[in-house]
Symmetry: C2
Subunit: 697 residues, 2 copies
Amino acid sequence: MATNHDASTQNCLDMTNARNKTSINVLSVKQFIYNGQEELQRKDKLIDIISKDPVFDKSKREWMTRTEKYTRGLRMINRIHELEHSLGWSKEGTAVATSLLDDPLPISLHMTAFEPVFLLQASQELLDKYAGLIATRGILGCYMQTELAHGSNVAALETTATYILETKEFEIHSPTLTSSKWWIGALGKTATHGVVQAKLILPGGRDMGPHLFFVQLRSLETHKLLPGITAGDIGPKSFNGFAATDNGFARFDHVRIPKDQMLSKFSQVTDDGKYVHPPHAKISYGGMLCIRSGMVTTAGWVTAKAAVISIRYATVRRQGSIDTDGLEKQVISYPSLHTRLIPILGRAYVFISLGRALSQSFQIMAQRLSGGDTSLLTELHATTSGLKVLCTTTSVQDIENARRSIGGHGYSAFSGVGRFYADMIPSVTYEGENFVLDQQVVRAALKAFHNLFGLERKTRPLTSTIQNLTPSSYYLRLLSSPENEPPILEDSDGLNSSWNNSETLILLLEWRAALVVHEMAQTTQDPDTTIYQRVSKSITEAFVGQRVGEMIGGLRTNSGLKENDVAVLSQLYLLYLQTTVEGALVDFLSFGILRISNPSRVGASRDPTRGLRMAIARNCLSLVPEVIGLTDALGFSDWELDSALGVYDGNVYQALWDKVQTEPLNDIEVPDAYKESIKPILSRGRRIADMRSGTKL
Amino acid sequence: MATNHDASTQNCLDMTNARNKTSINVLSVKQFIYNGQEELQRKDKLIDIISKDPVFDKSKREWMTRTEKYTRGLRMINRIHELEHSLGWSKEGTAVATSLLDDPLPISLHMTAFEPVFLLQASQELLDKYAGLIATRGILGCYMQTELAHGSNVAALETTATYILETKEFEIHSPTLTSSKWWIGALGKTATHGVVQAKLILPGGRDMGPHLFFVQLRSLETHKLLPGITAGDIGPKSFNGFAATDNGFARFDHVRIPKDQMLSKFSQVTDDGKYVHPPHAKISYGGMLCIRSGMVTTAGWVTAKAAVISIRYATVRRQGSIDTDGLEKQVISYPSLHTRLIPILGRAYVFISLGRALSQSFQIMAQRLSGGDTSLLTELHATTSGLKVLCTTTSVQDIENARRSIGGHGYSAFSGVGRFYADMIPSVTYEGENFVLDQQVVRAALKAFHNLFGLERKTRPLTSTIQNLTPSSYYLRLLSSPENEPPILEDSDGLNSSWNNSETLILLLEWRAALVVHEMAQTTQDPDTTIYQRVSKSITEAFVGQRVGEMIGGLRTNSGLKENDVAVLSQLYLLYLQTTVEGALVDFLSFGILRISNPSRVGASRDPTRGLRMAIARNCLSLVPEVIGLTDALGFSDWELDSALGVYDGNVYQALWDKVQTEPLNDIEVPDAYKESIKPILSRGRRIADMRSGTKL
């Protein structure tokens, strides 16, 4: 056994060999995933600038205190704005540059929550006064919704905005401890202004429920809090996540603002205290949908980073049995590793494309909404709720599984993967707690179901209703006739196997959605507690399945990719469908959806799920030679990944060694703790040992 | 809606009411879970001492740098030893006190790895010289096995120990970068000595594989590294976990040690360089089994803490629809919450009892082993491998689910739950990576299977072999006759339902293990990649199921508990069995194990899994009034939990508010970042906005 090989040389060689084995055209696939040459070039240019600028240096962040991380974060924001100004970046360019920083920063909330809500809902007068300042960050904002004791149930928010007839003002007030605004990004120390969700109270005490108000928080001269406002940072987060963001609290003690600072585009109060209703009750959901759409894209890219690091490390790590080259095997060659990692890569590819399509849908809807057309709102709301749940839940699970696949070194902060989890994990509870959102998906599904099969439909013919099904409930067509049945499956190893047929897999996912929703509809009086999640997941996975089918079609028709690239990406998308079906086997088996024409074909196997599992194993195995190409095509620089184990050249052990030498504990050989604690421990121990036995060292 | 209620009063009232509703005798159950009055009193006494001592103050740890956390850790160890000495604690008392500290400390490795290995394998001469000093911490040790590029595959370790005939010494050497010892707890800055795993090289170059050597690392006078040794800390860990532990690296440059420092109780080298074989090849596994047994107990207690915090918070948190008292409902009343949380509590109870039983088995085995009797080793090895995987994987998942159940506040470091995850998560990859251990369980299972049904058995009658089945393969009896079939299930709401019958559920788990192992045996030539995990999980869950059956029996016969306490705990254990079956539904459905006599009994339901899911929902609902009693019975003080959301009195929002005021960012109103960054951002923004539009604020 050749144990004395030079690991660095071998690691780099393994990586080069893996790169040479890839059959895809990496640049073509990269341009495909970045939606064209232009976007890719912009990103590469930005990375080139940022990664060389010492303000964005990452090498010391692991050891910084929270205050230092916050200070560094603001320094980075300031530098981004300097660069924007001096290099003439567009608004989008600045947004991309900020997102590349790989640290959640207070400015994100200004850009993704405060500004969009303000632009969507402020009156023209308010827009004229502040939109310019908001765009240039002449003021810095936050969006204050959640309270200490009120998150999911917006209707129960306690903060009040009472209209004062005499002075034509609103009085913002926090009546209780629990009404303190809480978790508000950038509120702690940064924001000068904010949009406050508060119950609008009209003269006479009439409570009109939550509305939005624009409030100045801090002096633009001194940055001190304005009178009547108590605010601060809510402290560190779990896993050391979001450390540079000053999530904050605020209490208002009868703070007066002029009447025109109510965001009154859709609902307003007249001077004499009368309420003017909004044109559509849900019109203010626009901002929320924008954030949720963005979360799908983020989930895709962060999952992608975790996949790249873990796949690169698995390519150069050797462990276990001896390969033909006399060395231990590369761990990526073990099915137990590559069947865990390649599906993660597949989901990253799918979510990135899905997020892009969703953002486009959002743009169309927002445009129509600004003209008062709310027709797309309901459908997009149903879709984004389910997708937000699915993509955030899946993403954190994939990131963590990728980290664990690294083995012991995955726990080192220098693997870089733990950081993704720490910053991504709040997404499962913020912007709609996932369990709560599931229930919204269920409500929409039951509505669609009853619309089609319930008493309400009776006046319209079923066929016309089915023709009008939106993408989010298209699966319901399967229930339109009792003669419809799930497809008979051909379980074989060949290409004709149903397990390798994307259309069949998508149809299976739709059947599952249809039958789970049917089950829910039959048992609404006494539902079992898992059914909400199962319904939400079924529907969303059927929806994503359809989209993946379109992606596969699009590869052939309009991606501009060569045949081999199309084939490889199609296999990756197929893997997404296969593993999605695998993850839902309980539903498939429970509702009799797996109708296999030739069960138990493999020897004495009695397992009807074996065919699918074997198809996944074979698909993964066939993709192994392509994974380094597919990870390179995601286009991450070493600076972006900031991972000793995910370095491009594969020289992982040297990179880890070098990183370890920067640990401050290693600055001095004998730690300060020696004199204070270690020496007393040892001396006491020796003394007692001596007393007990007379033994001397 | 009564929104102006005083939340503090209401929170405390809700907690008191919940306490009053509990029917169990909390003290009796507490003594039961602590295995008697004595152990409970010792723990309470230790907590009383430690929690009042300023050295163990936890209030500043969230903001400490790694170096500060390490320094604090050593200070705590020193103080523990002072107290041990001055108060006359036993060795076990000190171990308990250390475990109560809730921070993984370098001394743990001295106690759980270095000392046991040394005591088990050192020669009598070496024991005479060092055992006393090790016991009193006159020297501090570490256990050096893992290398930079070698974890799971111990046989491939690169460090060498070459016997030098001329001087009767061993020369310890690290030939490559990748042979650097890595991840070694306490090696970085603390340990003075260590046990090194190194390949024993005999004169002539014969490689005898890994053996253990006792090596001094640092001077006992100056704490400086001895010549030829390079060592240091390997840097921060993911999620900020294990920050106080100096996991370290070390390289040896031809370091000589006397021959008698080989741990030579079981294998040795004669003066003239001949090798004397160990009596049993696996005899050195003892220490590993001890650590793995301990991990089950730890998993139980840490899961318990997460359960207590999340259940207490769910009891006082009110959100959503309005209850009969005019307030929003307590969230524990929602099935979506309590069906997530109560099973976690159940698993905590089961794992704590399981860990205790396992440690007792280990003691018996160790005793026999020290006399050369290895008969129990194989069985305990098979059992602990599977249990280590199951309990660590389940525990981290439960901890994280408990944290997420808290909603947004679960992400605050002050919830305390994230810390448990951060410190517990490496257990899935250390002491045997879980995926690798799964394969060991599979190997043992296949051996038992072939022993029973393969060619080897032919000489012995099947019945006698079945009578000799060990607990870990007892399920195999089910395959002994083709007439054996899984039980027919009665699916009803009543107590007679099979879903409420613990014996039936255990039998189902055994059937699943039997059929999954049978499937594995039929497909070993071409296994699907999930089968290893499914086999390992099936066997271990059948084993635990049997133990839970014994626990339920033990409650009735020898727990000393009153009837009502027995009834409630039996329901909790039943819930463990029910949710274990639920988690394995794919296997049950695939192999036709769910043979329900009366399917589709509930209205138009087509879901064969509904009966089980409803039984779980009803069991959880019936346990809701008992959960505060059951969490109190786990006996954690507020100091131990260190969670604003898990405080005993329920005053969670006040506790969170108070904690937040200690955030250093709140020490000054205008942060330092203002002058450096925020002011420039705002000024630039205003300047640009002015230029663009002439708008002034």
